[in-house]
Amino acid sequence: MRFRTDFAKRYLSSRYGLAGLIMFLTMLIMALFAPVIAPYKPTDISHDMLSPPSKVHPFGTDHLGRDVFSRVVHGARVSLTVGFVAAGLSALIGIVIGALSGYIGGVFDEVISKIIDSFLMFPVFFLILIIVAVFGRNLVYIMLVIGLTTWPSNARIMRAQTMSIKEKAFVKIARANGESPTRIIFTHIIPNGMYPVVANSAMQIGGAILTEAALSFLGLGDPSVVSWGKMINDARSYMSFAWWSIVFPGIFTVITVVTFSFIGDGLQQALYPKLSEVRNE
């Protein structure tokens, strides 16, 4: 309990952490109450095509006369969902594989480490691209694929954590008491070692949002949802005479990703408070 209040205090004392939290809550409200906030339905077409920002359409309209503001607000839902589901899945897989690899050790660990290293060196975006192309453009697939391809960085962090925790006294005692490895991993190692993975996951949410945007931009996004990447792709052909249709979805993508970078940095700072540089001896 003490740890948690201290942690929260340290997190909130970080400038970026606090800013990130406020931005995230704003974003969340926008996504949750999208139908209330948006003046139009995101798919409503009208004859008012490619009209610049005005009182009626604060962000203007696109080539089918759809209200850009309403579409941006609804797009937040897709981005946040993709971000959380993909990063969550990635964290889950990473934590389990990393903990197993670090705890079991030996050949198993070596093989897993090699796979992790290779994955981290190769840009997984191409892998995601090929999987989406082969298996179909569905938001669920996209989230799954991002999660399934980005876990190695989490696994690496969890593996290092596990290696240090398994030498601690309480784990040794648990082992001496005859607790099963599964129990030790799930009740001692993971709960104590997962915090750095959580910080990394915040960054990964941003990464997943960018990946989904890139897929949608390439025309490989889910055709049935409104996403910022798709809006950018739609607006490409008209951008030279309708800047608003391309600028706003991009700006919201940037703000969202920055938000999660801030949160990730805040978490990092709360986890590893800088030791004050003082020789006090």
């Binding site: 892998l127 082969v134 890139a214």
Partner: protein, 325 residues
Amino acid sequence: MDVLFAKYLFRRILSAVLLIVLVITINFFIIHLAPGDPATIMTGLENPSPQIIEALKRKYNLDKPLLVQYFKYMTNLLKGDLGFSYVYDQPSWKLIGPRVFPTLSITVTASVLAFTLGTYLAVLASRLRKKFGDLIFSLISYVLYAMPSFWLGLILILVFASKLRWFPTSGMFDMRASYEGFRKVLDYLHHLFLPVFTLLLIQLPVFYRVTRASIVQNLREDYVTVLSAVGLPNDKLFKKYVMKNSIIPAVTIFGITLGFSITGAALIEIVFAWPGMGRLLLDAVFRRDYQLLLSIYFLMAVFISVAMIVTDIVIAVLDPRVRLL
């Protein structure tokens, strides 16, 4: 030292080969696990002729188990057979070859510039020691880091090509002008600027942040206290000692970023209609030309591996400790 260095290099090459094998293995199985008749899928054609199907089955042992097919595919690769695109009715290499230079020219240029400029700005920021300047730099780096590369590219086109008309919007050469000699080079550089600039802006924050953090950490190291106490002028201490120590993490990530910059480049090639491998890749995805896809992936894996081995050598020269690893 030479023996150690050779061993180190051997290990790095081994893991690079492992990376290539892993990448093509994963890709191979993904493609072969796709629903549908493998021979038909592999051709990428809607209605492939029975002759092509027959030829494919023979070449890749398609009627044999998956593992046999996999080994057949690997042996073909080892023999230097990159594969054949049935969609274009050409060997993969014929299609990829002319696109290697355009892709390398934007990725390598952008990565080298990003490394130089990013580390330089980090040094500058730490020497300024002004809190305000540091905050501005770091906010800019957050924003650039969060920017979708394709969107940034489009915005730059919107501003510098469509509105200001300083640069061309797309392509590698002016098709109407057909320049020769030096004019052609200038025309090429003119077209190169915006895609490279986009990629540079995307990669800049990575190098900036890593180096910035590294400088901050190095300034706290004992050797700084010791050498400063000894009387080394601050300027020399920083330029000779802190800088060399601080730049190592940036070099380490250079190899990885170069790999990732190919991802960014693929998107940017599409935005700028740049005739590189990224464009071809996307076409292959849409046309389901899996033979071509596998070949492109293989080449990219090779390229990334080479980049990483070169990086490893540079690091070993800079940092004597890694040779012991």
